[in-house]
């Protein structure tokens, strides 16, 4: 078990297991690891997703900076292949939510949501970048369109220099 014990200073992330995120910076033992509060606050600051949306969920790191979200609890650390859903990429200047997380939780977003027309949505889900006018912040946006009477998130888009880039993963891209 050497190298796997939880406590102590100077701990680093262990690649092949899931560690639960500390609640706050005071409880942080692994340098650079995001805290639960930072993750929840990020979704609130960036997209206006209310923090209580994530009550009942736990957050985990496996692979440096890769944050996963699990409904409910599990022992920490835990060695499994997947735990809940990939959620957020941290440990880089701009944190990046996953396409699947934005589809799942992006309905709650009230900020930095770009509404696309059907044609723009088609371009986006083909994985193609497109020139678009957008008055808001640059960076990661919730890309949404109207579907069955209400806005529905398509995934995360990256807006820079007048262009909406589509990071939809290859396996999720469609020609609709």
């Amino acid at each position: 078990m050497s190298g796997e014990s939880g406590g102590g200073a100077g701990k680093t992330n262990v690649g092949q297991r899931f560690d639960r995120l500390p609640e706050t910076a005071d409880e942080r033992e692994v340098e650079g690891r995001a805290t639960r509060r930072e993750v929840v606050d990020w979704w609130d600051d960036r997209f206006g997703v209310p923090p209580e949306t994530f009550d009942g969920y736990t957050f985990w790191e496996k692979g440096k900076g890769k944050i996963w979200i699990l409904r409910g609890e599990a022992p920490s650390p835990i060695r499994v292949e997947a735990l809940g859903m990939t959620f957020l990429r941290t440990r880089q200047e701009h944190w990046k939510p996953t396409t699947d997380a934005v589809q799942r939780f992006g309905r709650e977003a009230t900020r930095n949501v770009i509404r696309l027309t059907r044609e723009q949505a088609r371009t986006f889900v083909r994985g193609e970048d497109q020139e678009l006018d957008w008055d808001g912040d640059w960076g990661y946006l919730v890309a949404a369109h109207d579907q069955a009477g209400a806005p529905e998130p398509l995934g995360v888009g990256l807006y820079v220099h007048g262009e909406l880039q589509s990071p939809v993963p290859k396996g999720r891209q469609r020609d609709l």
Binding site: I69, A74, M85, V125
Partner: protein, 302 residues
């Protein structure tokens, strides 16, 4: 088709059975209630100009009038998932509830895992295991696409699965949808019987027995285990259940699905099984215009 001749004594209207086996399957999807209600999914299909037909036995199963259900907005959003009609049976029979701990012993590629999660309102824990590392990526892809957050994926031989990583004594329920000779999938894959051998049936039946035994052991007293295959072979169906009734403390229980079914067979190839195997159900292609399927529901006694 010659392989299927061995089932003539079991199947009524055998010619209609063979005819159905030669026809392609209708295009069927399951509505993923983690992301959309059936009403909203149908509205999205309407917007796409894709016709749909309700299936009486389940609110979430729809037949579509397209050969490409994946090429719809409803599918992109993860509101619907292409899943053969009979493949939706075992999770409905297991009927897990929100907050329970459920084991999916042979989970890839995840159609049933995601259905279990949806039935649980994505609350509790689904431990989705598969021994085939190569198929885990499809399993993970599907759980994420369908917005499942209550599943943990493991890669182990189900026959000696350990609950230790989860700090659990036992599961509330288990789904045992085992690898099999897949005879019932011939409508989807017409070459599926090309490599059929009795040796393979015998060897896969041994694995099936081991997995079902482990599932009964890993489930709490009073808990439910559902065993299913997509094959007609009694060696892989009633014989497996009969073996586990002998070896483990469990019993078969009656169940209902709103599809036309035949009871399990208590006698095959000179062998007699426990009479209670009649409580299992056999689904034949010509009765509901589906693939072939077998499903048994067990209650763990002690």
């Amino acid at each position: 088709m010659e392989t299927l001749e061995r089932y003539e004594p079991l199947v009524d209207d055998f010619e209609a059975f063979l005819d159905a086996c030669r026809r392609p399957l209708p295009s069927v999807v399951r509505v993923n209630t983690i992301k959309a209600t059936p009403e909203r999914a149908k509205a999205a299909l309407d917007e796409d100009g894709v016709g749909w037909t309700d299936r009486e036995w389940s609110d979430t199963v729809l037949e579509l009038d397209t050969d490409a259900p994946g090429s719809t907005w409803a599918s992109y959003h993860g509101w619907v998932h292409g899943q053969e009609e009979v493949s939706a049976i075992p999770a409905e029979v297991l009927a897990p509830e929100a907050g329970e701990r459920v084991w999916d012993a042979c989970a890839a590629p995840g159609s049933k895992t995601t259905q279990l999660a949806a039935l649980m309102d994505d609350e509790g824990l689904v431990v989705a295991n598969d021994n085939n590392l190569g198929r885990l990526s499809a399993l993970r892809f599907n759980t994420e696409r369908l917005g499942v957050t209550n599943a943990a994926v493991t890669n182990a031989d189900a026959r000696n699965f350990s609950l230790k990583p989860f700090d659990l004594d036992a599961f509330d329920r288990a789904l045992v949808d085992v690898p099999c000779s897949c005879e019932g999938t011939i409508r989807k894959n017409p070459t599926t019987l090309d490599d059929w051998t009795m040796d393979h049936v015998r060897s896969v039946a041994g694995v099936q027995k081991g997995i079902l035994r482990r599932a009964v052991q890993a489930t709490k007293e009073g808990g439910t285990v559902v065993y299913s295959t997509c094959t007609f072979a009694p060696e892989e169906n009633e014989a497996v259940v009969d073996h586990v009734l002998d070896e483990e403390d469990c019993r078969l229980v009656e169940f209902d699905v709103g599809l036309d079914a035949r009871p399990g067979v208590a006698e095959w190839d000179g062998e007699r099984f426990d009479e209670s195997v009649r409580k299992a159900k056999r689904f034949y292609p010509h009765h509901n215009d589906t693939g072939g399927f077998f499903c048994a529901k067990l209650e763990v006694a002690g």
